[in-house]
Amino acid sequence: MSTRSEARAWLAQRLSAAVLAVCVLVHLVTLIVAVRHGLSAEAILGRTRGSVAWTAFYSVFVVAVAVHAPLGLRVVAAEWLGWRGIVANFAWLVAGIALLGLGARAVLAVAL
């Protein structure tokens, strides 16, 4: 990765962090409230199924986290495991795509 790309990766990490700051706050409040009534499929799906707002919210959440998590792990792996270079960077890209896929599947599962 060129220093230009590395700098952009850092910026993407911080921008996704800002998005996640909002999403995580909403998520923390939601799950604290939701768990009061007991955690059941009915409770979760009753809220999310067919809801445009919740689908949009979780979609944004998933995209942001699929950017943020692999970029974060990339730095940890480089500093503490010595994983650097083209192969490592490609592996984290693949991990991000995989996380996006799993997350999209989860959003579909609760939205439709």
């Binding site: 996640l20 792990l73 996380l99 997350g103 599962a109 609760v110």
Partner: protein, 117 residues
């Protein structure tokens, strides 16, 4: 070359970094499992319910509280970093920010735990 010893790492901001990094890694490990669990609902609501029954086990509930704490800690610690990096460093406010981040994380985890139990 010499490596700086642990005596060098006693300050609060370093521990804030450790908490942030460890919580981030653990959350990254948890996340795919979280997505897989929710995807159970793709089959039908019954599949998700079957999974959720399992989560009533006290050990699982304790882990859930731990994950919520990790999320809250990573969130508050991250907010602190965003403030330092983008709004500038204010020396005097450092300790206050760390205290606020720590307190906030504990608050969220506690609220969750109290509602869960």
């Amino acid at each position: 070359m010499m490596h700086s010893g642990w005596a060098n790492r006693g300050h609060a901001a370093f521990w804030a970094f450790v908490v942030h990094r460890v919580s981030g890694v653990l959350l990254a490990v948890f996340l795919p499992l979280h997505f897989l669990a929710l995807s159970q609902a793709l089959a039908d609501a019954g599949a998700l319910d079957a999974f959720l029954v399992w989560t009533h086990h006290p050990l699982v509930e304790a882990s859930e509280i731990a994950v919520v704490f990790l999320l809250a800690a990573h969130f508050t610690g991250g907010l602190r970093l965003l403030l330092i990096e983008f709004l500038g460093w204010r020396g005097e406010a450092q300790k206050a920010m760390l205290a606020a981040a720590g307190g906030g994380a504990v608050f969220f985890a506690l609220m969750f735990a109290l509602n869960l139990i």
